[in-house]
Symmetry: C2
Subunit: 201 residues, 2 copies
């Protein structure tokens, strides 16, 4: 019924996460009505997406297709003896924006989740162990998400790392109240952590 | 900071309506992680979007680039003496899905809105007047949206059409309670209309 080219665009955009048929229709119709540049930009950028981005073979961060290793690892000013472990590549950029971390990163590629079929051997744990060895790491900061999956991954990492390197310092991001959240809305676990880890004023 | 190809995709997808930087990031990262087919599909479909879709010169419905006139107008089984007037091309498909209408359509291309700078002469009203003449229309069904803009457009259309064709039958879609809405949540205008236009059981 709809023009074929429009229907094709609706179907293709409907594959985006969380985008249903109505939203896809809105996107496609908007792009049809808007300047051709908009749809051309999306079209071209997606064409180059897979060839232009790859995984760093050491840290598993996302890097330009032309780079060998992540610049955050290659940079000689960054402390290779501190490794911050995250679940997903984009988590790195959240930490980088704080401008308060000068060590290196390691991306696990997810968190243990039996429901989604993600087992420990699918995560880049072996590579983390070799890095601790090769870079003579002194501290591993575990920055998995504060979810059930993230917590169990953190526990497993701690166990695995300590078994092999008993002297390694293992830390994790602090739990506490985030900015702007009303005390009465905070959940119990967060509040308990905030109380337990209270700091001097 | 982010790989350039990924950043480009995020920027391009951020131009979609209602998509902020975080959503664009999620879309781009999802497409990067997913099968290359997904992004290729979007890329190709958007490439053909503008060349593959055009406006019907008579009804202003969206048609395939290869078609001359809208098939809904061309179809000899459709009653050309009844014209249903909508604001936007996609409204046609909503009406078509009821399978209860067998006349033809006319797309205004919007509704009068002084705030958005849409004046009556930007809408396809002149073309509607010629169609009433050419197709010897007996009835014009005004199906603009039940908004302030839609209502004022409907009033203007009524006035303009009657001035030129005093014998023309002009109708509009019924106002009343939609399915599944609790009576106590219905607004006053809808409820007044539903009461006034009550039907025999």
């Amino acid at each position: 019924m709809l023009p074929k080219a429009l229907q094709n665009a609706i179907d293709a955009l409907g594959a985006l996460p969380g985008v249903g048929p109505r939203t896809a229709e809105r996107y496609a119709y908007y792009l049809f009505r808007a300047n051709k540049n908009l749809s051309d930009n999306i079209s071209k950028s997606l064409e180059n997406l897979h060839s232009g981005v790859k995984s760093c073979p050491v840290t598993f961060a996302l890097i330009d297709g032309s780079e060998e290793v992540s610049p955050l690892y290659d940079d000689p000013t960054r402390d290779k003896t501190t490794i911050l472990v995250v679940e997903e590549p984009l988590d790195i950029y959240a930490i980088e924006q704080t401008k308060g971390y000068h060590g290196t990163y390691h991306v696990l590629g997810g968190a243990i989740s039996p429901i989604d079929g993600i087992t420990p051997d699918q995560l880049h744990i072996k590579e983390l162990l070799s890095r601790v060895e090769n870079d003579k790491a002194k501290e591993v900061i575990i920055a998995t998400n504060p979810s059930v999956e993230g917590e169990s991954t953190a526990l497993l990492l701690q166990k695995t790392l300590l078994e092999k390197y008993p002297k390694l310092k293992i830390t994790r991001l602090a739990r506490g109240l985030p900015l702007g959240v009303d005390l009465s809305y905070a959940d119990q676990i967060t509040l308990s952590a905030a109380l337990e880890n209270r700091t001097n004023l």
